[in-house]
Symmetry: D2
Subunit: 311 residues, 4 copies
């Protein structure tokens, strides 16, 4: 009851072209905490306020992008049930053994209609957020190292068949559609924001011909002032900014989009609505996404990179 089933986006494995350059970016500039490296050379990070061992995994590769995105589910029984539900829905699933990702239990992996690999898992080692479990301070020494987001918040994925993906996420995985954009025909949904809790989004999709593409991974900040600080730190480190600081009309959140050294876009994000599953989703028209301020509320424009640059 209450929050059950799929709890949250728990990890994403990101491909970078140069591992140490990527580590410097995500550790020293974004300010994630490095928590380990595995035998295959992957590097693990968590945001300081997360309690799980890892939420971002970097893998060196010839092409940037995201390998997979994993969601934590409530427990192993839920994992089994959701796998059964996925199969009943017609998807193939694969079990990845515990330990394949550091400190992470068995994962159920499946490909969604947009071409992305999504995983569910019930176990990841709780390592805490660096604060004592008794009488903790509100923040600590890791909270001001680099941009220092609170957590990996959500991702935006580009691929085909977003409406089939909507069906899968809402009917099988229990997500709620919070906002959507209709294509110029005024009816077909072309962009979707979905939550498994009461966040503005835990995952989002945009219709795109090429499958399995990453638009951005997003990291949560506490305040609009921290978004400004994030922009300052990006600038100090010559991180190229795509859009922002600004406010999205969609979700109401404040944001900066920027690129990591491999060209993967990431977002530092703050705020946003807290929608409930009994709410009607918010509808943005195609013009609403651009001139209506959906992407950039103050500037009311559809920055060209938004639809074209993905990894």
């Amino acid at each position: 009851m209450a929050l059950t089933g799929v709890l949250r986006p728990g990890h994403a494995q990101l491909r970078v072209l140069d591992l140490e350059e990527g580590v410097r970016h995500y550790r020293d500039v974004l300010g994630l905490v490095e928590t380990g490296r595995d035998a295959s050379g992957r590097v693990y990070f968590k945001a300081w306020d997360e309690r799980d061992h890892n939420s971002l995994i970097l893998r060196q590769a010839d092409q940037a992008g995201v390998d997979f995105v994993g969601f934590k589910v409530a427990n192993k029984a839920t994992l089994d049930q959701l796998e059964a539900d996925l199969k009943a829905y017609g998807l193939s699933t694969e079990r990845i053994p515990a330990g394949d990702l550091m400190e992470t239990g068995e994962r159920v992996r499946f490909k969604i209609p947009t071409g992305h690999l999504i995983e569910l898992y019930a176990e990841k080692k709780m390592v805490g957020n660096g604060l004592p479990s008794v009488n903790p301070a509100p923040w600590g020494k890791d909270s001001e190292v680099g941009i220092a987001p609170l957590r990996f918040d959500h991702c935006l994925l580009y691929g085909p068949n977003v409406n089939q993906t909507l069906d899968l996420f809402t009917k099988v995985l229990g997500f709620t559609l919070t906002e959507y954009v209709t294509l110029p025909d005024g009816e077909t949904k072309g962009a979707l924001w979905l939550t498994c809790g009461i966040k503005a989004h835990d995952i989002a999709f945009v219709e795109h011909p090429e499958p399995g593409k990453l638009h951005h991974l997003s990291f949560l900040l506490e305040s609009w002032e921290k978004v400004l600080r994030a922009g300052d730190i990006m600038s100090m480190n010559k991180v190229p900014i795509d859009i922002g600081p600004t406010r999205h009309g969609v979700t109401r959140g404040t944001t900066i989009y920027a690129w990591d050294p491999s060209g993967n876009r990431f977002e530092t994000f703050c705020g946003g609505t807290q929608p409930y599953p009994d709410w009607d989703p918010i509808h943005w028209t195609w013009e609403g996404l651009g001139e209506g301020g959906g992407l950039d509320y103050p500037q009311r424009k559809l920055h060209e990179t938004f639809l074209t640059v993905v990894t």
Copy 2:
């Protein structure tokens, strides 16, 4: 799946000594939107960003305090199931017919061990937040009238038997314990914060000899700067402040506690953690609540009114 069962605190009926004075306070100073008055003279309000018809109901009475607090559940089947679960747990329940509260469906009412009346309901008319459902602005004309919180966020109730109440809320109603204070014995829980989603609290309890008492109703603001603005507006209107502006150690939220004209405490609150059900709750010792900064993190003191003034 995902968010199911009990969704959120949906309404509270508050007793005020002078109705029009109460209306002026909650409408003109706190800045709630008045949405109706019923045949029995009760006045209904919603926070501007809420979508349901009402979240605060004022009733004139000889004694201040709270009549009942209601939680919205996912749907009527959930309502029936939860009522059955409550009965199976040993509680008596009462069905209040639809329409007894304006624009609100049938309610299931029961008394919890602290002596408070809690209600569950599945239906309340969606009236929207005053913004269009297509291409909405992030805020609108109601967002700067008075303090103008986003929503009724949670309440803190005082009464006996908080540990039995914890059992009820977690085992039957699906809440998660997010933080707690142990009494000077170091073991017995004396204060509890509970969520039915991923908020720092949807309801909280403090052990207290007298049953059914109200510590405060809390209303959510967007930022610490809005908390300062709330303090300014309270001062402009000579609203007596109890504590703040400050930060709670418990929940990390920022806050002002103040009193309405009838002596009911209310809170304007911002921030706070977003805990998940798989997290261990945070433990505050009795000293931690005071000197440890649990109540007032900067000042590290247990303001005397916190434990003594309730309605």
Copy 3:
């Protein structure tokens, strides 16, 4: 002693193509207080926290731009002395009689090498900021009408001969150079920020072939959060934004540049350094203005409109 001579930018007369459209913009969107209209049809405004009768005057004309910018000086003796100093420096001055601008005393007008008309005056009626003079609240009813800046803060003017203008402002008018940009030759100053007090700028100049052009009038906000609110209000009113919200490297201030309905750029600005006359000015190279973050610190780019669009 202490602050003497020229005190502050006191007024600017702006040309708009449609007066009532201009009034709606500056009164209803920017949120200035309309304080009067004169026989020639000009409309007068003040920012809510200013104490003088007016700081912005709108005049309908066939071409947008600024007619003149006026500075308040300490008193009439200072006005006489500064006029004598200007003449001794070789400039022609003109006395405009008291009352030509509403509630404003005699003005000494002169043309500076960039081709702009600058005025000095010692008297303008103090009308207060709408708060009581005894035990005032920190803000009041005008403080949330539209964007509601605290004051007219500074202007940026484009024209030729900025180095001669620097000489005039520092040697005769007592201003201090706070920051400057050198042209690609690395030596010639091409942009200047000057203060007559301890503000990051009371006036600024950029070298430009055409004389007498306006880049922007700037209005002061209290916080970065108010800058976001300004962007929201601009968007709600379809005010076209040029740049921002962002932070300038020059001055460190946060900003939005946008255009009024006649195409005059205006700025909503917050923060900035408080430099003293014994400080060395900060040097920005030509690359520093763009890639160095001088104009847009997070984005490190020289937006094309910055150098090309003036009125």
Copy 4:
């Protein structure tokens, strides 16, 4: 012209009971930069954004309090003229040789009617703010070490004869009275805020029977969010807080008052008005200081310590 004469509060020498404990407080908690120690054992600090070598000097002594407060003046000619003016006014002055304070030129010292030693000086070595003089970032590595104020902003001194002191500061030193409190008789000024520029205060006085007492030294922060952060850092370090976080009605600034390990009060302050010398000062009645919100605008109370605890 423009800003002349006395420029700013430049240094204060503070007595602490234990030097290393004081150093830890001002360097590690408040986050000042230690810039030197002299032969007599005094320790020198600057706030990160100050350009002068030092602004706070700690001296170990048996009794806490302030030895003297120094103001930087425009140049040596100004120093000579002001000394002559002080003598003409009837005060004795003393010349302290250059080098007595590290990196500081000759000082003119005099005792004011409140019993405090005030100094004027024209020279202190410019060491910069740690950022490059060409194309600087808005902040750097020292800006987040401890509370990290921008500068030593002002001090509040307690002693007798504040009205004579007002006469001295306005007639001889060129300060402007910005705000004042009248005693219960409604006429006699009992508290004064004065600026030598356009700050809400560069120095302030409260009438008090004992001469030469220190109420607090104040350090400037950029935002209300930084005030919250200051409160967090004080709490993390068990720094006892006197008042706040809150807003002063007087000056409109936001504030925390707290005590250093020797019992000297210090303030972390943000905001405040920017008053000009042609403005009428703001009048607070005696009731206005307390119930009127002059000291604590949200709480509208005269905290007992404000009038009684000084060093």
